[in-house]
C-alpha cells in the first residue's frame, strides 16, 4: 500500500449529501479490471459526462481550476451504499489521495484506509467552511498532514482532526495489514482451539447432502 504522510494540493468541493458509491462508479464498470486504460474516466461517470461522452460543464471536476484535484471536500455520508471498493480505486486512479468529510459511509471509510487514501473527519461546520473557501477561491490548495493531524485551509488556519492510531500507523508506513495479522497466527490458532470446545456446535454442522 502506498503510504500517506502529507499532501498539499488542489481540492474540489462536493456539496451534495449522501453521495453513494453507485454514483462514484456505476455498476456497469465494476467488471472492468483496475488496470483498464482510462479507468479514471469511470469516476462519477454519469454525472460527469453526457451520453455522447462530452463533459458536463456544471460538474466540479470538469471546471478548469478543480480539474485533477487530489483532495475532495464533501458532505455528510459520502460513500454510502454499496461496498464496492472500486469506488476507492477509481478515486485513486483519478489522483484523489484524501477525502475530507463530516461523515463517511462505514465500508467506504474502511476501504480508503486499505488503499492509502486518507479519510479526514471534521465537524460539519468546519467542512462546510472549507467548501465555501474552495468555492470562493477556485483552485486553491489545502494541506493535509497526517503526522500532525491537521488540515490547513487557504487562510492558513489549521483544523486538527482525530485519526485512529492503528490506522494512522498503517497509512504512514504503507503497512501490509495481512502480513501484520499473519504474525498473530499463534493467537488465531489458540482462539480456534478454544472455540472448538466452547462453540462445538458451530463446527459440528455439515451438509446433509
Amino acid at each position: 500500500m502506498r503510504p500517506f504522510t502529507r499532501l498539499s494540493a488542489v481540492a474540489a468541493p462536493i456539496d451534495l449529501p449522501n453521495v453513494d458509491t453507485d454514483r462514484i462508479i456505476p455498476a456497469r464498470f465494476l467488471r472492468k479490471p483496475r488496470a483498464t486504460p482510462g479507468y479514471a474516466g469511470f469516476l462519477f461517470h454519469d454525472v460527469r459526462f453526457d451520453a455522447d461522452g462530452s463533459e458536463r460543464p456544471e460538474f466540479v471536476l470538469n471546471q478548469a481550476p478543480y480539474r485533477g484535484a487530489h483532495i475532495l471536500v464533501v458532505a455528510e455520508n459520502f460513500g454510502c451504499g454499496s461496498s464496492r471498493e472500486m469506488a476507492v480505486w477509481v478515486l485513486e486512479a483519478y489522483g484523489v489521495r484524501s477525502v475530507i468529510a463530516p461523515s463517511l459511509g462505514d465500508i467506504f471509510h474502511q476501504n480508503c484506509y486499505k488503499n492509502g487514501l486518507l479519510p479526514v473527519i471534521l465537524p460539519a461546520a468546519a467542512v462546510a467552511g472549507l467548501r465555501r473557501q474552495l468555492h470562493a477561491r477556485p483552485g486553491t490548495a489545502l494541506a493535509v498532514d497526517l503526522e500532525t493531524q491537521t488540515v490547513t485551509d487557504p487562510d492558513g488556519v489549521a483544523h486538527p482532526f482525530e485519526v485512529d492510531p492503528f490506522r494512522k500507523q498503517a497509512l504512514l508506513t504503507g503497512q501490509d495489514e495481512i502480513a501484520l495479522t499473519l504474525s498473530q497466527e499463534a493467537a488465531i490458532a489458540a482462539f480456534e482451539r478454544r472455540q472448538r470446545t466452547e462453540m462445538g456446535w458451530l463446527v459440528a454442522g455439515s451438509p446433509a447432502s
Binding site: 453513494d20 465494476l30 461523515s103 486499505k114 488465531i188 480456534e192 456446535w201 458451530l202 459440528a204
Partner: protein
C-alpha cells in the same frame, strides 16, 4: 454488568487486542460471490493461501443472467462467473454454482442452507450482509481488501461500533409489512443516522415477524448507514434453523440451543442510542426520491422543497425530484409506473412471493413486470404452490434466481427515464440503470403497482 447481544457476540470473538481500540475479530462464516474474485487473484499473487476454506461458501448471483437458460453474450460478464468457479475449485471452497438448485442470492442462501446461525460472526463482500443479523448473528459487509484479509487470516481488525436499539412497539396494521417498517425507520433516523452503529431491532412488531420479514428489516440497515443490524433469536429463529442442511444436529443442536438462548440482550443493558416507533402509525410506504430515506406513506403527496428551511436539504430534494421527474404536491398514487421488479436480497423469499401473488391473483399486469426468486430452492417451492402460474397468467415474467435488476451488474437494467416500482433496497440515481427512476416498496405494493400501472395503496385493492 448487563450486556447487549452485540457485546456478547463481539467479546466472544476477540482474538487479540490492537492499538486504538481495534481488536482482531474472528470470522466464523465468509460468504463469497462473483465480485469476490479479484481478492482471490491478489491473494494468489502474494503467494498466500486460504486459511480455512471450509468456513467460506460461494454462490453465483450478481453477474448471472436471470432469463431462464440464458448465457451472457458479454465476455466480461461470462468471465466474472467463470472466475469464481475456477478460484473456488482451486481453493476447495463449497460453491453453489450454475445448475445447482441451491444457488441463489448470497443473503438468501446463507440462511436457507443453515450457514447463518445465531451467535456467529459472518461477513461478505456485499453491503447487505446485515441480512444475516436477523438470526442474532453479527454480520456486516466488507470491501474487497477485507475479503482478501479474511481469506488469508479468517479474522478482521475492527473497531467496536456504538450500539442503537430501534424498538417498534405495538402491532402492524393490515397491508403493512416489514418493508414498510424498515423504510419508515430509515426515513426517521436518516440515511446517515446509523453510521458507526450496530442496531438491534426490538419490540412487539419485530417479535411477531417471521424470519423472512426480520431479514427484510435487517437487510436495509446499511441504508441507514449502520454497520450491522440484528434481532434477538427466539423460538421463531430456532424453528427456522432446525433441520437446515448445514445446521447442527443431535447433541450439537442441544448445545447450540443452550448457547443461543443466552444471546439476547440482558434486562437493563444500555444502548448508546434508543429510537422508538409506534407500529400502528406505520402505513404502506414508498420512496419518492433518490435516497432510501426519501420515504413517505403512499397516501402522502410528493414533498415541496420550497417548504424546507435547510439550504443543502432543499437543493438535494430539488435535484432528486428533477431526476425522478416529479412535481411537488402530486399525490403519490397519481404517479404512473413503467416497470415492476419483484426480487433482490431484500424481498425475494417465499413469504415475499406469496404476498405479491395474493395481490396478483385474478388480475393482469399493465406494465412489464418481473419476478426474480432469491434462490433455486425458493423458485422450486413457489412452483410447488403454483405461484409461478399466478404470475405468468397475470403477464409477469417468472425468472431464475439472482440479483438482477436490483443492481444491474449483469446488464438487466431499466431504460433511461423508466419509472420502476421495485422491491429492492436502493433508489440511488442510476442504480437500476442509467437514468432509471426507482420507487422502493413492499412486494404487495409492487404487485399492486403492476396491476394498476401506478403507485397504489394495496389496502384499497
Amino acid at each position: 454488568m448487563p450486556q447487549t447481544m452485540f457485546e456478547k457476540i463481539w467479546s466472544r470473538h476477540v482474538v487479540a487486542e490492537g492499538p486504538g481500540g481495534h481488536v482482531l475479530l474472528y470470522i466464523d462464516r465468509h460468504l463469497l460471490h462473483e465480485g469476490s474474485t479479484s481478492a482471490f487473484g491478489r491473494l494468489a499473487a502474494q503467494g498466500r493461501r486460504v486459511r480455512r476454506p471450509e468456513l467460506s461458501f460461494a454462490t453465483t448471483d450478481h453477474y448471472l443472467l436471470t432469463a431462464p437458460g440464458a448465457v451472457a453474450a458479454d465476455p466480461e460478464i461470462r468471465g466474472m462467473v467463470e472466475n469464481l468457479t475456477r478460484h473456488t475449485a482451486r481453493q476447495g471452497i463449497v460453491h453453489f454454482d450454475v445448475g445447482d438448485a441451491r444457488r441463489g442470492i448470497v443473503h438468501v442462501i446463507g440462511p436457507e442452507q443453515g450457514l447463518t446461525l445465531p451467535g456467529i460472526t459472518l461477513v461478505c463482500g456485499d453491503s447487505h450482509t446485515a441480512t444475516h443479523g436477523a438470526f442474532g448473528a453479527l454480520a456486516f459487509g466488507i470491501g474487497s481488501s477485507e475479503v482478501e484479509h479474511v481469506l488469508a487470516t479468517q479474522a478482521l481488525w475492527q473497531k467496536k461500533p456504538r450500539t442503537m436499539r430501534v424498538a417498534v412497539e405495538g402491532r402492524l396494521g393490515p397491508g403493512v409489512t416489514a418493508k414498510d417498517v424498515i423504510l419508515t425507520i430509515i426515513a426517521t433516523i436518516g440515511a446517515g443516522g446509523g453510521v458507526g452503529h450496530a442496531i438491534e431491532y426490538a419490540g412487539e412488531a419485530i417479535r411477531a415477524m417471521s424470519m423472512d420479514e426480520r431479514m427484510t428489516v435487517c437487510n436495509m440497515s446499511i441504508e441507514a448507514g449502520a454497520r450491522t443490524g440484528m434481532v434477538a433469536p427466539d423460538t421463531t429463529t430456532f424453528a427456522y434453523v432446525e433441520g437446515k442442511p448445514f445446521a447442527p444436529t443431535g447433541a450439537a443442536w442441544a448445545q447450540a440451543l443452550a448457547a443461543w438462548t443466552a444471546l439476547p440482550s440482558d434486562p437493563g443493558a444500555t444502548f448508546d442510542r434508543e429510537v422508538a416507533l409506534a407500529a400502528g402509525e406505520i402505513a404502506p410506504t414508498v420512496t419518492w426520491g433518490t435516497s432510501p430515506q426519501d420515504a413517505l406513506p403512499v397516501t402522502a403527496r410528493v414533498p415541496d422543497p420550497g417548504a424546507i428551511a435547510d439550504v443543502a436539504r432543499r437543493e438535494s430534494m430539488t435535484r432528486a425530484l428533477a431526476y425522478m421527474g416529479l412535481a411537488p404536491g402530486t399525490p403519490l398514487t397519481d404517479v404512473t409506473v413503467d416497470r415492476v421488479f419483484i426480487g433482490s436480497c431484500t424481498n425475494s423469499r417465499l413469504d415475499d412471493l406469496r404476498a405479491a401473488a395474493r395481490v396478483v391473483r385474478g388480475r393482469r399486469a399493465l406494465v412489464p413486470a418481473w419476478v426474480v426468486p432469491g434462490s433455486g430452492l425458493i423458485r422450486r417451492a413457489a412452483e410447488a404452490e403454483g405461484l409461478d402460474r399466478v404470475f405468468v397468467e397475470a403477464g409477469f415474467e417468472w425468472r431464475e434466481a439472482g440479483c438482477s435488476m436490483c443492481v444491474g451488474m449483469n446488464g438487466e437494467t431499466a431504460r433511461e427515464g423508466e419509472r420502476v416500482a421495485s422491491t429492492s433496497n436502493r433508489n440511488f440515481e442510476g442504480r437500476q440503470g442509467k437514468g432509471a427512476r426507482t420507487h422502493l416498496m413492499s412486494p404487495a405494493m409492487a404487485a399492486a403497482a403492476a396491476v394498476t400501472g401506478r403507485l397504489t395503496d394495496v389496502r384499497t385493492l
